[in-house]
């Protein structure tokens, strides 16, 4: 009798261990990106035309930021409506702005062409994993821009 019980217990145990357990795993790799070091730009006056001031003159430099990304995220450059800080520009007359955005690689869609103020330009990365964005600006007044400190901030958004 005890042998029968022992055999039955073994069989039940054997049947128990034969049951399969399904262990599922799931996950996703999403588009993502991050910004690297921001290098500030320098704006100077055009020595041959004092009404022009910006990053494209001698001694000036564009602001740059590096981007690292996985997949195909979207990068948007939003140009400002004007200077974030400037002296009184009344005597300069109407001041117009020509922005530019340049991507450093062959994947670039931003071009070295004029972009108006308060404008968004967008590029979706399709290859690669890093890039560098350059932004620049030229401000042109009806008259020469006055002496003082100027600041301008462009926005780069990665989604």
């Amino acid at each position: 009798m005890r042998n029968y019980l022992f055999t039955a217990a073994l069989l039940c145990g054997a049947i128990g261990t034969a049951q399969a357990a399904q262990l599922d795993m799931s996950g996703a790799i999403n588009n993502r990106c991050s910004f690297g070091t921001v290098t500030s730009g320098i704006m100077t006056v055009n020595e041959s035309d004092f009404s022009q001031f910006g990053t494209e003159n001698i001694g000036a430099q564009r602001a740059t930021v590096s981007v690292s990304y996985f997949g195909t995220p979207t990068l948007t450059i939003s140009t400002p409506a004007g200077f974030s800080n400037a002296p009184d520009l009344t005597d300069a007359g109407t001041v117009s702005f020509a922005h530019l955005a340049v991507l450093g690689t062959a994947d670039a869609a931003f071009e070295n062409t004029d972009i108006g103020p308060s404008t968004d330009v967008t590029h979706q990365f399709t290859s690669g994993s890093s890039d560098t964005v350059q932004v620049g600006v030229t401000a042109t007044g009806t008259n020469a821009l006055p002496v003082g400190n100027y600041e301008m901030v462009t926005e780069a958004t990665c989604i």
Binding site: N31, S34, E151, T154
Partner: protein, 136 residues
């Protein structure tokens, strides 16, 4: 094989070291009709300088800001550090894409003549795929 693995790891390390301002996770989803969405996000400052960040929320696109509650809504991170923040956003039951962003303005940390404000956003799809925007 080992050389390739080492090269791959090196590239990954370089890519990580190059990153300065990032946000995780980058994509989130909530079922259709969710009136209140929220999550604990992680803001990362991999710059070698302290940096101040603020949280912004948008509906559908960048030009359409929407009120959201973030705790903390502004914070300063030491070099190479990160912190979690929680956000809560009332969708009013409206499906679509919501953007949760951290913003870093280098000019606020010392001033510069011409600078770039960086914004990294996570896509939060409510009833839509956060990647494609298609109904889900």
């Amino acid at each position: 094989m080992r050389k390739r693995l080492l090269t791959g790891l090196l590239c990954l390390a370089v890519a990580s070291a190059a990153a300065g301002h990032s946000l995780a996770p980058s994509r989130l989803y909530a079922p259709s009709g969710s009136e209140l969405i929220g999550y604990t996000m992680r803001a990362i400052n991999a710059y070698d300088v302290p940096a101040s960040y603020s949280v912004e929320c948008y509906q559908h696109e960048l030009g359409n800001p929407i009120a959201c509650s973030a705790i903390p809504g502004q914070f300063r991170l030491r070099p190479g550090s990160y912190r979690n923040f929680r956000f809560r956003l009332d969708t009013g039951g409206e499906d679509g894409m919501y953007l949760i962003c951290t913003v870093y303005d280098p000019s606020s940390d010392g001033g510069a003549a011409s600078s770039i404000k960086t914004r990294v956003c996570a896509k939060f799809g409510v009833g839509v795929d956060p990647e494609t925007g298609d109904p889900k």
